[in-house]
């Protein structure tokens, strides 16, 4: 952080809470995209859910899987939002968003190649 810069500001000048907010929005959208692409890959017979908990919900039906997955990420996002002024919250949001972006890009390329 530069000398004299506001306390909750990144090195390039963007306010940390706003970055966290945008990252959490992206994370939420990516989470939905991951769910849709996973369901599509499973529907096509190309994948099984490796997460046992999600696998259970997906076998029970789409609605329960949507409620569980969206619920978990929403609760996690709200928690990070409450901690938005902490550096750890920013790092967690960056890591989760980058990870989900990687997963969704991988899944999208896979499904598009079929």
């Amino acid at each position: 952080m530069r000398d004299g810069a506001p306390r909750h500001q990144l090195r390039l000048g963007a306010p940390r809470p706003q970055v966290v907010a945008w990252l959490l929005v992206e994370l939420w959208v990516l989470n939905i995209a991951d769910l849709l692409l996973t369901r599509r890959a499973i529907w096509l017979g190309f994948a099984t859910e490796s997460n046992r908990v999600m696998g259970h919900f997906l076998r029970e039906g789409t609605l329960s899987a949507v409620v569980f997955k969206v619920g978990v990420v929403t609760v996690g996002s709200l928690l990070l939002w409450r901690l938005r002024r902490h550096r750890a919250a920013l790092l967690a949001a960056v890591a989760l968003t980058a990870f989900f972006a990687a997963v969704v890009a991988y899944e999208a390329l896979w499904v598009a190649s079929l």
């Binding site: 970055v19 017979g45 190309f46 099984t48 029970e60 960056v94 980058a98 972006a101 990687a102 890009a105």
Partner: protein
């Protein structure tokens, strides 16, 4: 709202997406499903680099489909381009794929809710590249791999839970219209319906019988007129056995064995390949002799294998005969290994060959004119 915050978030998103794309490329480069395809003088040689032998070949038009014991793969016979159609992932087993000039069809059994096996039939439309998973109650009780011709798919179905199929069912893949081709009489000792094959509007099956003295039969039903033919290849006899059979156009071809009188063994039995025209009822012996096998038909071309040479140095000939006229001719001769499957479509013959070291691969070739 500070635009730099949005820019930062987008950069994180892009960095993750790039990582995902790199992971995808690395995985594709290391994937093991892709067979090694080599052009030969008259066709293609298709080998699985991982050593998994191909099985359950299907051939129609310009497409060949097979099961590599894990994946369902198709190849365009014109370009040699391969495509992964289906994978045998965990909790899923795959049944024999079939192919028509329009669709590839395969069946999987997947463990669903309550650990119940759920059948899914998948179709891949060659023209559009569209995959469809056909689910629903209609496949519960499916008793055979589906067979397909044009846009029609048929399969044997067992709704009673008995030891054999009760019905032959069908579906028009372009419209989704479902229909029943045949229903078992349900009489005691009537046996069951067999695994169906389809060619155009004709569906054929060989019913099983509980009576060991019953004549073997091949039933053919025309879907458009409902006309039914019952072919009795030979009168039941302890020394006779029906081998494989096939249907194309208006012709049924089958092989029948005269078992060795000494011990009733099929090894060394005399085999006769016979073709019958449904319209005229004319029956014709295509080939006769020992160590024949694997007959297939498409249009007016019948192909079969013929083993010559010694047990230690077997030579396999792929033989062909055009029903429109002419004499049997050799399509290919192999001095090593065995031929496990032979299929024919148009002027293309496809087979699975096995070398002396048990390595299997697919070979296709043009039939000499």
């Amino acid at each position: 709202m500070d635009p730099r915050a949005l820019l930062t978030a987008v950069l994180v998103l892009l960095a993750g997406a790039v990582l995902g794309a790199i992971a995808y490329q690395v995985e594709q480069a290391r994937s093991t499903w892709r067979p090694k395809v080599t052009r030969t003088a008259t066709g293609w040689s298709i080998r699985d680099p991982s050593g998994r032998g191909p099985s359950n070949l299907a051939l129609a038009g310009n497409h060949i489909v097979w099961d590599s014991q894990l994946n369902v793969i198709t190849m365009d016979l014109g370009s040699g381009r391969t495509k992964l159609l289906g994978v045998g992932v965990d909790e899923q087993s795959m049944w024999t794929p079939t192919v028509s000039d329009k669709y590839a069809v395969w069946l999987t059994m997947t463990i669903g809710a309550g650990d119940v096996q759920v059948p899914y039939v998948y179709t891949y439309e060659f023209a559009s590249g569209r995959r469809i998973r056909h689910a629903g109650n209609r496949f519960e009780g499916i008793w055979s791999s589906p067979a397909t011709s044009g846009t029609t798919m048929v399969w044997a179905w067992n709704g009673s839970g008995g030891p054999a199929a009760d019905e032959i069912r069908g579906e028009d893949l372009s419209t989704g219209r479902q229909f029943v081709v045949a229903t078992s009489t349900g009489a005691v000792g009537a046996g069951g319906l067999g695994e169906p094959v389809i060619s155009g509007d004709l569906v054929a099956w060989s019913p099983t019988s509980a009576d060991p003295h019953a004549d073997p039969q091949i039933i053919v039903r025309d879907l458009s007129t409902r006309h039914t033919w019952t072919i009795v290849p030979f009168r039941a006899a302890p020394s006779m056995e029906l081998g494989g059979w096939s249907l194309s156009g208006r012709t049924v071809v089958w092989s029948q064995y005269a078992l060795r009188p000494k011990d009733g063994s099929i090894v060394g039995a005399k085999e006769t390949v016979v073709a019958e025209n449904l319209d005229s009822g004319a029956r014709r012996v295509i080939a006769s002799g020992r160590r024949l096998g694997l007959e297939a038909i498409d249009g007016d071309l019948v192909v079969w294998t013929k083993q010559v040479g010694t047990v230690h140095r077997p030579t396999t000939q792929i033989m062909g005969l055009r029903l429109s006229g002419g004499r049997p001719f050799a399509i290919a001769t192999f001095n090593q290994g065995l031929v496990q499957y032979v299929l024919v479509s148009g002027d293309t013959v496809a087979m699975v060959r096995t070398d002396n070291d048990n390595t299997s691969w697919i070979e296709t070739m043009r039939v000499p004119q």
